[in-house]
C-alpha cells in the first residue's frame, strides 16, 4: 500500500492509494482533486501544482528542488519553507504516508 493524504483548501483530509511511477501531481489529479489545476500538465512551467509537504514518512526524503522549481515557487505569494511543485516529486513506495496540503489559489 502506498498511501497519499491530501488536505484540501477547506481543511479536509482525504487519503487514497497512490500509483507508483508517476508524479505526486498526477496522483492527486487522478484522484479527482480539482483544486490542483496543474495547467502545464507537469512540465515545470506554471506553478499551479503548488502544495505544502506537511508530513513525510520518517525514512523518506525528497530530493531538493531544482533551480527552476525554486524560481517558480519564488513567484508565489504563498511560498513556505515546505512548498513544492507536486509535478516535480516522483511518487514511490518510500513516500507512502506522505501528507500534503494544496496551497491557496494565487
Amino acid at each position: 500500500m502506498s498511501m497519499i493524504s491530501v488536505r484540501t483548501r477547506d481543511g479536509e483530509l482525504h487519503s487514497f492509494e497512490g500509483r507508483v511511477g508517476t508524479s505526486l501531481m498526477e496522483n492527486i489529479r487522478s484522484a479527482g482533486f480539482d483544486e490542483l489545476l496543474a495547467m502545464c500538465g507537469g512540465c515545470l512551467s506554471c506553478a499551479t501544482c503548488h502544495l505544502y509537504v506537511e508530513e513525510l514518512p520518517r525514512t523518506a526524503s525528497l530530493a531538493t528542488p531544482s533551480i527552476d522549481e525554486s524560481e517558480l515557487l519564488e513567484g508565489s505569494d504563498y511560498r513556505q519553507e515546505n512548498s513544492r511543485l507536486s509535478c516535480q516529486i516522483p511518487f514511490d513506495e518510500t513516500l507512502s504516508g506522505i501528507v500534503v496540503r494544496i496551497a491557496p489559489e494565487e
Binding site: 508517476t22 498526477e26 489529479r29 487522478s30 484522484a31 479527482g32 480539482d34 489545476l37 495547467m39 502545464c40 500538465g41 512540465c43 515545470l44 512551467s45 506554471c46 533551480i67 527552476d68 524560481e71 517558480l72 519564488e74 513567484g75
Partner: protein, 413 residues
C-alpha cells in the same frame, strides 16, 4: 421553451470537451452550480492535455492515460453528463436549443461554447494527398505517429510553436527535417526578432534545415501519397511526410450562423458573454472585445476564461483580467512567456542568447508589456510583476543581468 422532454433539458450545455469546456464544468460545480450539466465533445476521448501532443506524446515519452485532464470517474462524481463523439451543428439561440450531427436536440438554460479551432489546412494543389499530417487532436497525432517509422524525411510547413516543437521531436528521433516558413523568421506572429533568431539558430544547430521566406506552391505525389513539396521558388524537395502547422481556424460556425457577433472567432465581453442571450464563448475561439481585440490560444486563457464564464453563470460577475502566460518546450529549452506583446514598440534583450538563458522584454511607450524567457524562470516569475504593474524601467537597467528584475525600481528613468 422545449422543456417537454425533461431528459433533454440541461441547465448548462457546454460545447467542446477540451481545456476550456472541461474546466467550465469543473468550475461550475466548484462555484456551487447544482443544475444539470452536459459536456458535448466531438472527440471520442475524455478531455485531455493538448499541449503534450506536440511534445512528450509525439516523442513517445508520455502515455495518453497520463494526459487525462481529470480521471474518467470525475465526471460521474460531479454529475457532468459527458456526451462524446458528437458535434453540435446548429444553435437556435431564440429557442435555446442545440442540435448535434447525430440528430439529437438538447435545450439549455445557459450555453458555453468552447469549441477551440481546427487546424488551418493547406489549400495548394496536392493538399489532399495522403501523408499530409496536422497536429491538433489525439487522432491527428496518432495518424502521424503511425506513419513516422516509415518516414526518413519530413517537411514541416510553418514555423510557429507547433511546427518547431514537432521539428525538435523529429530531430531527437533521428529524422531528416526541413522546415519551410513563408515569413522572414520563425515565430513571427508571436515573438520578437531576438527570440526568432535564437530558435532558428538552435534548430539549425540540431540539424533542422530551415527555409525562410519560402512559400509552398504545390505538393506532388505518387500512388496518392505525397512525395515532393514544390516551393514558390520552383525548387522541389522530397518528403515522406509533410507536417502542417500554420495556425487554426476558430470553430465558431454554428454560433456565427445563429447570429453571434464576430468574424475571426466569436466576440465576447469581459464576462465571456456573446451578443446572444445566455450564450458564453471561451478559449481559442473567443475574441475579447475589450483590450486588443484578439483571440488568445493558450491553456491559461482557456482555463481562466472558463472560470470567468462559470462564475458569471453562477451570478458572480468578475471581469476576466488574468495575466496571460504561455510555455513551449523544444529540445532542452524551456520558454515561458508572460503578458501579451501585442503592439510593442521596442524590445530589450536581457542576457546573452548564446548562453542559452536569456529573456526578451517587450515595451510599449516605455512600459513593460510582456517577456519571453528562455531557460530563465527567474525572469519569468519576477517579470510578471513588471507586466502586472506596466512598470516603466530604464532599458539599460532591464538589460543588466547583474541585477534581478525584482530589484529594479519602477520609474527608474
Amino acid at each position: 421553451m422545449t422543456r417537454e422532454n425533461h431528459n433533454r433539458f440541461f441547465d448548462c450545455v457546454i460545447v467542446g470537451g477540451g481545456h476550456g469546456g472541461s474546466q467550465t464544468a469543473a468550475a461550475l460545480r466548484q462555484s456551487g452550480f447544482t443544475g444539470r450539466i452536459a459536456l458535448i465533445g466531438a472527440e471520442p476521448e475524455v478531455p485531455y492535455d493538448r499541449p503534450s501532443l506536440s511534445k512528450e506524446y509525439l516523442a513517445g515519452k508520455k502515455s495518453f492515460e497520463r494526459m487525462h485532464l481529470r480521471p474518467e470517474d470525475f465526471w460521474t462524481s460531479r454529475q457532468v453528463e459527458l456526451m462524446l463523439g458528437r458535434r453540435v451543428t446548429t444553435v437556435d439561440a431564440a429557442a435555446h436549443v442545440v442540435v448535434t450531427d447525430l440528430g439529437e436536440r438538447f435545450s439549455y438554460g445557459k450555453l458555453v461554447w468552447a469549441a477551440g479551432g481546427e487546424p488551418r489546412r493547406l489549400s495548394c494543389p496536392g493538399s489532399e494527398l495522403a501523408g499530409i499530417c496536422y497536429i491538433r487532436s489525439k487522432a491527428d497525432c496518432d495518424a502521424l505517429v503511425e506513419v513516422l517509422p516509415g518516414a526518413e524525411r519530413i517537411v514541416i510547413v510553418g514555423g510557429g510553436y507547433v511546427g518547431l516543437e514537432a521539428a525538435a521531436v523529429f530531430r531527437e528521433i533521428g529524422k531528416d527535417v526541413i522546415l519551410v516558413e513563408a515569413l522572414d523568421r520563425v515565430l513571427a506572429r508571436v515573438a520578437g526578432e531576438p527570440v526568432s533568431r535564437f530558435y532558428e539558430a538552435e534548430h539549425r544547430a540540431h540539424g533542422v534545415d530551415i527555409r525562410l521566406n519560402c512559400g509552398v506552391r504545390s505538393l506532388e505525389g505518387s500512388n496518392g501519397r505525397v512525395r515532393n513539396v514544390v516551393l514558390a521558388t520552383g525548387e522541389k524537395i522530397s518528403a515522406d511526410i509533410v507536417v502542417v502547422g500554420i495556425g487554426i481556424i476558430p470553430s465558431a460556425g454554428p454560433l456565427i450562423e445563429a447570429g453571434a457577433e464576430g468574424s475571426n472567432g466569436v466576440d465576447v465581453d469581459e464576462f465571456c458573454r456573446t451578443s446572444l442571450p445566455d450564450i458564453y464563448c471561451i478559449g481559442d475561439c473567443a475574441r475579447l472585445r475589450h483590450g486588443p481585440g484578439i483571440r488568445i490560444e493558450s491553456v491559461q486563457n482557456a482555463t481562466d476564461q472558463a472560470t470567468t464564464a462559470a462564475k458569471a453563470i453562477c451570478g458572480d460577475l468578475k471581469p476576466y483580467d488574468a495575466t496571460p502566460w504561455f510555455w513551449s518546450n523544444q529540445y532542452d529549452l524551456r520558454m515561458q512567456t508572460v503578458g501579451l506583446n501585442y503592439g510593442f514598440d521596442s524590445v530589450v534583450t536581457r542576457g546573452n542568447p548564446a548562453s542559452r538563458s536569456f529573456s526578451v522584454v517587450y515595451l510599449k511607450d516605455g512600459a513593460v508589456l510582456a517577456l519571453d524567457c528562455v531557460n530563465a524562470s527567474r525572469d519569468y516569475v519576477q517579470g510578471r510583476k513588471l507586466v502586472d504593474s506596466s512598470a516603466r524601467i530604464d532599458r539599460d537597467a532591464l538589460a543588466d543581468t547583474s541585477k534581478q528584475l525584482k530589484e529594479l525600481s519602477p520609474e527608474a528613468l
